[in-house]
Point group: D2
Chain length 340, copies 4
Amino acid sequence: MIVIVKNGASREALKELTDRIEGQGLKIHMSQGESTTIMGLIGDVSRVDIDLLRSNSIVEAVRRISEPFKKANRKFHPADTVVEIPARDGAVKLGGGEFCLIAGPCSVESEEQILSIARSVKAAGAHLLRGGAFKPRTSPYAFQGLGTDGLQLLLKAKAETGLPIVTEIMSVDKLEFFSDVDVIQVGARNMQNFELLKELGKCQKPILLKRGLSSTIEEWLMSAEYILASGNPNVILCERGIRTFEHFTRNTLDISAIPVAKELSHLPIIVDPSHSAGYARFVAPLSMAAAAAGADGLIIEVHNDPTAALCDGAQCIKPDAFGELTGRLSGLLSVMGGKR
Amino acid sequence: MIVIVKNGASREALKELTDRIEGQGLKIHMSQGESTTIMGLIGDVSRVDIDLLRSNSIVEAVRRISEPFKKANRKFHPADTVVEIPARDGAVKLGGGEFCLIAGPCSVESEEQILSIARSVKAAGAHLLRGGAFKPRTSPYAFQGLGTDGLQLLLKAKAETGLPIVTEIMSVDKLEFFSDVDVIQVGARNMQNFELLKELGKCQKPILLKRGLSSTIEEWLMSAEYILASGNPNVILCERGIRTFEHFTRNTLDISAIPVAKELSHLPIIVDPSHSAGYARFVAPLSMAAAAAGADGLIIEVHNDPTAALCDGAQCIKPDAFGELTGRLSGLLSVMGGKR
Amino acid sequence: MIVIVKNGASREALKELTDRIEGQGLKIHMSQGESTTIMGLIGDVSRVDIDLLRSNSIVEAVRRISEPFKKANRKFHPADTVVEIPARDGAVKLGGGEFCLIAGPCSVESEEQILSIARSVKAAGAHLLRGGAFKPRTSPYAFQGLGTDGLQLLLKAKAETGLPIVTEIMSVDKLEFFSDVDVIQVGARNMQNFELLKELGKCQKPILLKRGLSSTIEEWLMSAEYILASGNPNVILCERGIRTFEHFTRNTLDISAIPVAKELSHLPIIVDPSHSAGYARFVAPLSMAAAAAGADGLIIEVHNDPTAALCDGAQCIKPDAFGELTGRLSGLLSVMGGKR
Amino acid sequence: MIVIVKNGASREALKELTDRIEGQGLKIHMSQGESTTIMGLIGDVSRVDIDLLRSNSIVEAVRRISEPFKKANRKFHPADTVVEIPARDGAVKLGGGEFCLIAGPCSVESEEQILSIARSVKAAGAHLLRGGAFKPRTSPYAFQGLGTDGLQLLLKAKAETGLPIVTEIMSVDKLEFFSDVDVIQVGARNMQNFELLKELGKCQKPILLKRGLSSTIEEWLMSAEYILASGNPNVILCERGIRTFEHFTRNTLDISAIPVAKELSHLPIIVDPSHSAGYARFVAPLSMAAAAAGADGLIIEVHNDPTAALCDGAQCIKPDAFGELTGRLSGLLSVMGGKR
């Protein structure tokens, strides 16, 4: 971290500032130019409060050199993290070269619905089953999910098909019901629900962390850091589209987030083309693009009767379209080779 | 709500669609043009899932005419809501023509700090005392607030000065500690923490609801609707700046949100110039602008020693600057007259 | 276009409004509901000024059903437009299933530089040579390009290699110098320089139209419409990344723009991964993603000595990296088959 | 400017880099830390190409300390610029404490229209008359303005009322027709039409430079710098709302831009509440806010018959509403005193 001191700062003010900084256990590399004094802070600057430094009356500017995330940082953990999800038919691996397909309905609606979709997506090659039991909805009057009943239905589908399940948590006080869930999803709106992140950091279950609607990649990795710093190393990043001015798609898939996150972090990253696009007909091209850009997997909304879906029907594809897509993805992945 | 049907839709598909809509208790006003069929849905459309309708294969487009919020809507509640906050020296009123000043530090740091600031801001004309005990921080390594100890210190300051207190809640499981808090704040990052909103809707305490960093006014009012629909009518809106591409300010104060929210809703709206600006020197002009645009009040960060503040020091003003500002605000409000 | 009339509009005001609309050559399909009157406007609504309608005191809302672009619209022109660029070794085709590679430096800097790069990219499979002679720079103090001298050097490179050339125009008064240029580029900052678009519509040269930094796809197609409406059908769309809050990339490639533009319009669309990414190391994954999403081609910055480039050196790749990339793209395109 | 060198850079690479920098006439203040080498560049860094530096293989990061604009920078020109616009009844001053009101229709439509509006706004206290003759419209099918005929009508209105006129230019080749125009406006879409800016820098007429729809304040000041650097010191900044995700207003007025621009630059800054709001009913509160925040003036759309306006009718206010607003503004300005 570099602190640029204003011209004409008094000796006393400078002394006070350096004392304050050294009091936090940091060393200062001082560089006195003709007109500018520059301090290079050396040590664990991830704990330094930049706003605090900036507010000092003799400070002109503060510039961070290194990223503020540590445990999520590839610099300190060069090897890819591979998250293993135990399953009846052998553990599913996420990261490290495997390509993982997660599929299922937006919401669990009934036993028949979830079982039928689970069977279809398994047959088409899915490795995990997704389905929402607790649903974050903009309107208090919209369908809010089946709650714990929905979780029970997901577990039935898991029991029958052997597919591990991924489902979203919305508040700490529901955590007790997630003991048999295989991957806990944190939705975009809760990406900075720090109390929830801290609690999830205390368990060892894989956490699928969606990127916030308008969050930067740095903020996203800082939220991953909350989970990692609390003790849980099993974090899966999920890019699901960001808010932009474009309205022909529900959100804008930030395809660049894949190579960027891969460079900055060792955590696996998957893509949600369904929420990114908002419309079923764009799911296939975005899925292909995500695979070509190096994603570790996809989470896709599949519904047997999209027009009757209780939420987000517009972006669900049917099981046969999912099957066709997995075929095309296999072709693409086969030519990507070791270059991914 | 208007549903535009695709050209060439079959009689059966149209029948299925109208049955589905009428099954939700709505009436349909059908308008058959030469090339377009338009359905006007009549009834309580706030419960209609637009995405669901859009996903129907014969639907070209769906357009909402009325707003999806109901209890927060001025159309159904023309008079200004006035939130009353009981206080030793007489209730503080927010909305309906009064101008309310909330001031205090970003975080409660110590008894001496909060007492001293509370005395200063009271002397300068503040009606309520703000101060954070639970702090949402982007980094897990940054100061997270004093927690319940901080709440105790706030209550001491209230006991001494008589100022009612405003402080932020971050998760449902801490609600029990807020019984003596006068106004509970929901921060920008939790604006769509729907589980929290539902719980806060079950009490009758005034809720200060900050707008999310990238939320639209409609989404903000939908979050207010969550609280209102759960039974609590005491919601105060707080505009605190939105994320834009501009970097000379921390956020961009959406000054237009004041007249827009006043038109759409009966709820009082205040402005947080400190988080909007991010720098102390811009707090005064933004405060003046907010008052001139018709805001019902301001929530301002005041610290006796900004450079030593444990968070957001850069945007805190000192007690004397706050005093000078309140004087200028009085002048401005005096000429605004009944026109506000 | 649908006009929703306010409740309680007087008979006279309604008459005045319908007269005004019919005076523009449109028919009105009137639909009188219990509480709402809806007018469906039939005819060429692309000339209707929506803002004007909205400002009418009895109008509640105006909703467009169809897109405001006509000549660029796939509905009225279902077949893909294929832009043909004459070349010594046979015309280069853009659109309709061909994949076109455009490569070259950001700026033309010297004869040696442009000739050497032209030879390299041709050897690696490029179909067209790009190179800037007139450069739009944020700072008046930055290198502004070699101007007409740069154009001459490009023509030399074309003469030697046979590669047709693509270069940017910045103002109408320079058009006379572009007579031997094969494809004229309109940069992102000039996407809504309507006077320039009108002039370019008067020639028949292919126009490569970059999307504006914060433009919607609709605005982009409206700018294409300016060129088409002036008589020039040879427009190539170029997605080059949009401005978002993300800072690890220079811009954010809107990968969804490819399938969206393909659906809305018949015009070919290519991608500029260099400006999207801003960093050379992200050019390859973005290029692969663009091809997988169905783009008709790529325009890539290639420089023999990026660190010495006079502009945008950070995002240039070297000729050998370009060669490796074209090999990987061939593999990917081979498995995409007819599905693109 | 600070250049942070990567760990382990070779002596030769470092030598090559320093030679390159010194070759541009800059001095280097070298600061060799244990693990980091930092170079402080001293001299006229406004000409340094940051991207070029960043692309150097041994450079970790480049951080600018000072702003890239020079002539527009208050640091080098502390006193407020006052732009004087000659007028029959005495020069109008913009900046330096005066408050200037510019009013008139979006477009000049007819002699009767512009004369009648000119008389009204003059009576209500306007100092300048605005009116568009060349109109930038998103659609090629929308009304494009009366062109040179419109300019003639504006001059008639000027001749009768004595109000100097402000009107927009859209391309260099029309400049010859602007010889009797008093203030030339550059619209938001042309803010980075650098060729136009350079030409306008060669005359001495006041230039009203609107901020681009998604431009940062720095980019805006860089565009002002283009005009200043070409020799014309008479630049007036105009904040007209930026694009955000909010849709209840046409754009979002960045009210903070006023104090920020005042701090960074000596140029006068006015506000366009009409384009910011997009709706007539929000023009008054935004105007009051702009004055309270310290703006040097306002440019407001006034039309005698907004529902018949040929463009942007929704945001025009009527002459009597303008008169009422000027009265309220006077009251507000009277209490602002020397504090503005």
